[in-house]
């Protein structure tokens, strides 16, 4: 498929996302250096830094201690992943108004293939501008946007004038945009490749492009060479792949010291089951297969799984299955436990679900119970209500 000439791709990249969310949620932080990250006393690293902090030399993945030295006046905040995910969903909802073909790369960036939306919504440039403006107007956050004929160029574009950038790359101007860039801006060029190329005197995309293919191949090997050869010319025909449904959900707990008490293990396993069940229900998914994972004190790890007669998202049903797996394991392969986990696979959405003619009254009671528990926890926190298993 030589679709690269006709496709229109937008890359939306939020500027200093976590830090910006914090500054927006708490206006007193506006204009101040904000660092979101791990415990500054421990071994934590910087997850995100506001532009104010970046100007003082603080960057992502830098150890917190170092960041504190460079920027002692910074406001240090813990990571609130749930909050960022929530804001991310709202950004996603805005993007979904323009195309169903959205490929999120993380909470703060995504590709959109808007080729099919152009006849309806005007042009890729209009769509890109509108998304950027709506994120600003509705969420008070700033995004950098790249509009281009493919993913690679769209990403180059969103990065070019960060923050608050808006760059359009076309077949006509792509070479002029790419040529002066350092080779490390090309996907797949890491430190090692960069050094290898530098040792051949290649530091910019233009120099890379001028390298004959066989020499590039001799330097980097066939696969990397053909990829870089095309990317240096702004060619990239990878499709925008819409978000994959989660294929599994799991939760596990590692103990500080190995656990041998069977009742303790059951108690912890129930908590993990609850955590997974809540997530299933939040995402309106039903699980077909349940799995219990056990890591012994000597790091040997085993899993036990079973398939349910009916896909379910009910805590009680999942717990029944998990508990019988645990009991079977205890009878046959018991040993001190370092880690216990619970997971589900074979996930199906509400859409496509076979409806019930005679809802099972017991199942309906369990459903109501789960709904009440979920509501209480949403309002008062995850620890507001705990399930206890009957010994």
């Amino acid at each position: 498929m030589s679709a690269s000439s006709v496709r229109r791709v937008i890359h939306v990249d939020m500027d200093a996302f976590y830090a910006s969310v914090e500054q927006r949620d708490n206006p007193t932080l506006k204009g101040r250096p904000v660092i979101v990250g791990g415990d500054p006393q421990g071994r934590g690293v910087v997850c995100a830094a506001s532009y104010e902090a970046r100007r003082l030399g603080v960057f992502s993945a830098m150890p917190m201690r170092q960041a504190m030295r460079r920027c002692p006046q910074a406001v240090i905040l813990p990571v609130r992943m749930g909050r960022y995910a929530e804001v991310s969903r709202r950004i996603h909802a805005i993007m979904a108004d323009y195309t169903p073909l959205i490929e999120p790369l993380s909470l703060d960036e995504a590709f959109l293939d808007v080729t099919g939306s152009i006849p309806l919504l005007g042009s890729d440039i209009l769509i890109g501008r509108e998304i950027k403006q709506r994120i600003k107007a509705e969420l008070k956050l700033v995004a950098s946007v790249g509009v281009a004929p493919n993913k690679f160029l769209a990403k180059v574009g969103s990065d070019l004038e960060k923050p608050d950038g808006f760059v359009v790359i076309t077949e006509q101007n792509k070479q002029a945009v790419l040529d002066p860039l350092p080779v490390k801006r090309i996907w797949g060029v890491g430190k090692v490749t960069q050094q290898t190329l530098a040792s051949r005197g290649v530091e910019t995309v233009r120099q890379l492009r001028q390298m004959p293919f066989d020499r590039l191949e001799a330097t980097l090997g066939a696969a990397a060479a053909s990829s870089l050869y095309r990317l240096a010319r702004g060619q990239d025909d990878r499709a925008v792949e819409p978000e994959q449904e989660a294929k599994s959900l799991s939760s596990e707990r590692t103990f500080a010291t190995d656990v041998t008490d069977r009742a303790d293990l059951e108690g912890v396993l129930l908590e993990e089951v609850e955590r997974v069940a809540t997530r299933l229900r939040r995402q309106q998914l039903y699980a077909k297969t349940v799995m219990v994972k056990i890591r012994y004190g000597d790091f040997r790890t085993i899993t036990r799984r079973t398939t349910l007669a009916q896909p379910t998202c009910l805590t009680d049903r999942l717990w029944e299955a998990a508990r019988s797996l645990l009991i079977a394991w205890q009878k046959t392969a018991f040993g001190p436990v370092r880690l216990i986990g619970f997971g589900v696979t074979g996930l199906a959405a509400e859409q496509g679900r076979q409806l019930e003619l005679f809802p099972d009254p017991h199942e309906q009671r369990l459903r109501r119970l789960d709904r009440v528990i979920d509501e209480v926890r949403d309002r008062y926190g995850a620890n507001a209500l705990q399930r206890r298993h009957k010994g």
């Binding site: 199906a348 959405a349 859409q351 496509g352 679900r353 076979q354 003619l357 005679f358």
Partner: protein, 368 residues
């Protein structure tokens, strides 16, 4: 015990006997068949404690009376693989010799006294029905029973008797099949007043009985058991305890969209639309609009199927998702060239009627 068996008659009897023998059981003796040689016949019997079966073989020559329990699967395999017309079984205590022209098996069996008793059919029948009619009824409902549901009642088929009619109802909680058959004579008021739920296993056993002659099935209720006798075969079964769902409430009666559809045409369209369904999207969509019915299937990453059919329909357009399996199950057991489908909303059950006896209610698949 010493008996000469007609091998082909023994093969036939063991084929149905072994259908009752449990494949896994904590009681090893239940994996056996009890063989009891009487004066002029041999009784074979097996049970899983829920369903029992007895078979009277008269194509035998009993040289010495007696009894033994032999592993049913093994015996059936030996008899099936043998090439003789006649096989001789001779037992001494719990060891049995099986001899053919060129073969000699020595089989270690078990003490027949240890075999659990299986009720006998004694006295007059409470109900009588032709085997052919009963089998038609079974085929039109058994497929809809639940498999190993925790709601035991729907693992069986509901029997309801009114006059000389017997309704059979089965459901797995998502669809329901109901059919009616004629009885040879009306049962007593007391028998008719009972609500019976017969296990699916028992029903499928009855369906396996051979209809070579115009046989009738005698039925008798004893306590919490139901007994059947049909020719040389006797079946006893526990009844399923529990409450069958109040099914009458869910059979729609107020539907405004009523469409007559060709059985064969729909069967083919459903099969074709289901070629493009996937594990996630198991349903196919039936879209009714101005005199057209479209069947569509969609499998992410694979493609889309669409089959259109001209129908007589002028109501509001409606699209409903159904499991192709559920549709096929019902279409397969219909005896009519056309059937009626009644609908109201995409999230309300669909109603299918074929002939005067067959009713099928099926819940849609959520398309929203």
């Amino acid at each position: 015990m010493k008996v000469q068996f007609n091998r082909s008659a023994l093969t036939d009897s063991l084929a149905i006997i072994t259908a009752v023998v449990p494949s896994r059981t904590p009681k090893p003796i239940l994996k056996g068949v009890r063989i009891e040689a009487q004066e002029a016949c041999v009784h074979l019997c097996a049970t899983d404690l829920e369903v029992g079966i007895g078979y009277t073989l008269s194509e035998v020559k009993v040289l010495e009376q007696g009894q033994i329990v032999l592993d049913a699967e093994r015996l059936a395999a030996i008899v099936r693989e043998s090439t003789d017309d006649v096989l001789t079984l001779e037992s001494q205590d719990t060891t049995c010799e099986i001899r053919g022209a060129d073969s000699h098996f020595t089989i270690y069996g078990q003490d027949a006294e240890q075999f659990p008793p299986v009720s006998a059919f004694e006295g007059d029948a409470d109900v009588e029905v032709s085997l052919e009619e009963l089998k038609r009824g079974i085929r039109q409902c058994l497929f809809a029973t639940a498999r190993e549901s925790s709601r035991y009642a729907i693992n069986g088929v509901l029997w309801e008797m009114t006059g000389k009619r017997l309704s059979l109802v089965a459901t797995d909680g998502r669809r329901l099949a109901k059919t009616s058959i004629n009885l040879i004579s009306a049962p007593s008021a007391e028998t008719a007043s009972r609500t019976l739920i017969v296990p699916a296993k028992t029903m499928s056993l009855l369906d396996r009985l051979s209809t070579s002659e115009n046989k009738s099935v005698l039925i008798k209720l004893v306590g919490t058991q139901i007994l059947f006798r049909c020719g040389e075969v006797m079946i006893t079964s526990n009844l399923v305890e529990g409450n069958f769902p109040k099914y009458d409430d869910i059979i729609p009666k107020d539907y405004d969209k009523r469409i007559v559809l060709p059985t064969e045409g729909v069967a083919s369209a459903v099969r074709r639309a289901s070629l493009l369904t996937s594990e996630e999207t198991k349903g196919i969509k039936l879209s009714f609009s101005d005199n057209t019915l479209t069947f569509s299937g969609r499998a992410p990453e694979a493609g889309v199927a669409e089959i259109t059919m001209s129908i007589d329909y002028s109501g509001d357009p409606i699209s409903v998702g159904f499991s192709p399996q559920f549709l096929t199950d019902a279409i397969r057991v219909m005896k009519t060239d056309a059937f009626e489908m009644d609908l109201s909303q995409p999230d309300r059950p669909g109603l299918i009627k074929s002939g005067s006896d067959f009713i099928y209610v099926l819940m849609p698949i959520n398309l929203a």
